[in-house]
Subunit: 435 residues, 3 copies
């Protein structure tokens, strides 16, 4: 499989992905409940992912699948009966996983239940309380300051009941049972970059890979953050041996440059592949060392699994001021950035699919490339061109120890060129695959 | 044992150490003789160190313990009978280990016996002649220029006779027989930074450690430079196997920033510990590679021993103009710098004492910290705080391969925080000690 | 053997080498034929190299020794019968290995056979066509633009017939059968830096080494590029095991600074030796990583041989605008640069010859250098001088694992000093040779 971005109508894919972000945006997702179910159904319009329901109370390593949370309505009404805080206006207004509540409170009693961002006074923060039973509202700091004294009616019309944790999974079998894991979280309410961008890019990657001959098998996971990956790992422990490479997809729709966060292993093939792609992208980028904070790589890279899973993002979580606020909205994510991220992911997958190890069949001195029509006619020119140079590098380093990616890195040539040249040399019998 | 500088009255310790420097300063020490004996007696007022006497003529590897040197008086008198050079005014005036001499010399005959520093014309140099039988005087270059022609009476009232080499030793047994070696030289006459600062900081470290529960055993050596460490190593060869970490203490009282000189091994635990402490000190510092020149690390790090012994100093020997001159005096060393050095040494010892290797008891995925009260209540905040981050790092890297110090270095968090967090996790059964 | 440039009359050697360049310059060399034979005969005036003739058609790995090429004359005449392009004026005018041709062509028919350098319009390019049967002429672009329309008489009076490939070889046996390979190419026509400079420096190195006691054996190869090294390697495959170090000599007569291109191994002893010499030369220099493009190191470093062969040049091939043009002439190469290159090569050979591994016979603590007269008399000085420091380094690191070159690199002292000190210590029984 040679995947090249030239095969894709990039503008079109960017628009399609963005349209899906727009559709998903209003849904109030959480780590369980109907929000994530509705979201997965939308993705199923694009790819045939399966959904799994794991019952409340299931033990997953050190954790227990929590009660299912659903919300119908939530508000704070002032004395005049007006909804001064209204879940229907923005689903970030309610602390995610708030327990049901109805009552009348003075402003002083209400205040401890209100969350704001004093440094970003116009934005609503995103807050959750999955494992401690409480309720709360999130509002802009300016609104908070304008609240009048007096009594308010508070209604949190939610339910926390035995149910299930829902996640989506799509497995695309390849020539090998070795797997590439693509994982994204789907548990945030109206946050566009942090969660929706990852969901749609993963979905369209799956759609694209469906149509290709695949060396590797691909497993796409659409899961609630933390508890979702813990649940999947607990229920699929024996399958993790197949995972040879993995990427956690998140924050891939903003204007920032690409960031690659290394796996815990630090120099796994996925690390080299992603960094190679970024180095040859012609765009600015940043490489981050592994840290045990972030998204679900925290679980995949826990010491008991230590999987070769990195994370490829644009601006990483927590590094942009819109992060976990109402400003992570449909203006913050743009079709062209979604498309660019999609392309980078495909390029990384292209490297994984084509990265093999060869052995030069004429290891003693160079083979005569000219007699095979592989070399320029006239000698004496100042430099070999890139193509000829790439052939010499592949022949010189193909001693059975170096992968094409390692050859590309050592020669500072693109994997695309090195791969193309290797194919030509293979055709001419100058290389054979090494084990 | 958690040692923290907060336990100490730093100002007070600085003053106490400085007072001891003041008392030791006038004594004319050498590599043998009554000067070093008197000095060790002063240290015995603070800690119960033992003294050892190794007889002249004892073979110690390639060396022989030299005759014992003592001095009563020395001077050069002019025609008028005035002492123009007088040992009683400054003990640096006599070349250390000068043989006895009495006679009358012209200035021309005297000159080859006079040592000066032309580039620092006001200072008296420090010179020794341990292994070549000669005598000499050291004076300021300005005085040298002002000497009038004519005859001088020269008296060097010294003795070089069979006796002993004296050194001090203090052994503090710990839970383990593995030792930390703290070594300082005590053989210089009135030089405050080069020798006295190391002697007093070592003494007060011993005093402090006496009062603590110790994981390691500690061996303090108060020895003449070179011949002292060679003698100790020759007589205690079999004990060197116990030495797991070591530091040579010297030049710890001046205003310069801390310098750590690596052991010959280059990346021993003592090297990592000392560098970690300096990196997190908030002060400027410099790390120097090992070189076979310096103080007694030269012997500890000789290829036949190759012990993990580094050297933690302020401005290293030879790098300050006052070095080995009369300007290395009581003004050059200050209480606050002695106290700061003392603190840095304690911090390094703190790392050694608490640096262990653990194994995460829930290695598959993160344990649920929230249910144990170890995690912030509300999710969604921009960053975990340092404490939570430290917990995640310790859990993630505690796979039985990484020490806490290695975790602190990889996470760029302080050993203090990492150690505190590890203790908490241990209490909650989330870690177990690894072998 | 201690070789030092001080032994040589550098000015004189530069002039001698330059005179040989001047004599070799007019000859029309190629990869086979009388040009290379005549050139080797000139070198035989200086050193007794043997010549070998390998018949056309001999199979050498993936290649076949080509027909022998010789040229008597070649020209393009205009309508007036004037030679507008004339081989007798410059042998670069003919594409090297042009097949015989005689005929009348219009300018339009002639043009595809003309090679120029539009960006360097006054210079004649150097072009070859060894393995594709064609003919051509090389001219300045300005001349090309001035050619008038009309018919031209073209004569290429060459022969391509069964014959031989000729190369020169000089083997100087040393105490050991382990070899140092010195290889240069001899196949370019009138190009002074690219080929002649390497030939004369190699020749004078051989002349110099002839007079010396040699630890290593030395093999000098004077060969046509690519096909020559392939031929030698194919016919001497079993001998390559003896090659412990090697250098490809080329482009050593221009004003540029020295460049060392690493062997494929990257950190072989030859790599360390050459880089050490350049680092301590006091001159600017550059170190280049291995690449599979360049001169005959391409063959020596092919994966089936992977010999420790680097290349020491001044400005590398292709990096100077005169490269492979008529401007690489007798003005471009100067005696002083040839002499400087010669000196650098000798210095590298000096390192190889004297680089040994020793074991300190008193590994426990320092030996007492003073009693052997190896140490300054008076202690207390600010710094040991370089010589004493070098002794301490050699004693400290001579544990049987480090070569003198590694000690020189770690101590940042010159190999010359380290080697001299090691000899002294050996004399005093303080070192013994390690295996």
């Amino acid at each position: 499989m040679i995947i090249s971005s030239a095969n894709h109508d990039v503008d079109n894919i960017g628009s399609e992905m963005y349209r899906l972000v727009v559709e998903l945006y209003p849904i109030c997702r959480s780590i369980t409940g109907d929000g994530i179910r509705a979201s997965l159904r939308m993705l199923q319009q694009v790819v045939p992912l399966e959904t799994h329901e794991v019952p409340t109370g299931t033990h997953v390593f050190d954790w227990i699948v929590p009660p299912e949370w659903n919300i119908r309505d939530a508000y704070v009404k002032d004395r005049r009966g007006e909804r001064v805080i209204d879940f229907r206006r923005h689903n970030l207004h309610v602390v995610n996983y708030s327990v049901p509540f109805h009552g009348h409170l003075t402003l002083d009693e209400l205040r401890p239940h209100l969350h704001t961002l004093p440094e970003q006074p116009d934005r609503i923060p995103y807050r959750t309380s999955y494992y401690r039973e409480t309720w709360g509202f999130c509002i802009s700091h300016n609104q908070f300051l304008s609240l009048e004294k007096g009594e308010y009616e508070v209604c949190v019309d939610t339910s926390l009941e035995p149910g299930a944790l829902t996640y989506g999974e799509l497995y695309l079998a390849g020539q090998s049972s070795a797997e590439v894991l693509i994982s994204c979280h789907c548990c945030h309410p109206s946050l566009a970059n942090d969660n929706l961008s990852g969901m749609v890019v993963s979905t369209f990657l799956a759609k694209e890979l469906q149509t290709q001959t695949r060396r590797y098998s691909y497993r796409f996971l659409f899961i609630p953050g933390t508890i979702g990956s813990i649940t999947w790992l607990a229920l699929n422990e024996q399958r993790t041996n197949n995972i040879k490479h993995g990427l956690v997809v998140a924050c891939v729709g903003d204007a920032g440059c690409m960031h690659y966060k290394r796996s815990r292993l630090g120099d796994a093939e996925i690390d080299k592949a992603a960094i190679h792609v970024l180095q040859h992208s012609g765009h600015e980028f940043e490489v981050l060392d592994f840290s045990p904070y972030g998204y679900d790589e925290r679980q995949y890279c826990s010491p008991g699994f230590n999987l070769p899973v990195g994370s490829l993002t644009r601006t990483p979580h927590g590094r942009y001021p819109e992060y976990h606020t109402s400003a992570d909205n449909l203006d913050f994510v743009r079709p062209e950035y979604l498309a660019d991220s999609f392309d980078k992911y495909l390029a990384v997958i292209d490297v994984l699919e084509n990265n093999r190890k060869y052995r030069n069949t004429n290891p003693k001195c160079e083979p005569q490339l000219g007699k095979r029509g592989l070399y320029g006619t006239f000698g004496g020119r100042k430099d070999a061109d890139q193509y000829e140079l790439a052939m010499l590098w592949v022949l010189n380093l193909s001693d059975g120890n170096n992968t094409l990616l390692e050859i590309a890195d050592r020669s500072n040539l693109s994997f695309g060129l090195i791969g193309k040249v290797a194919e030509t040399l293979l055709t001419h019998g100058l290389l054979e695959e090494a084990q």
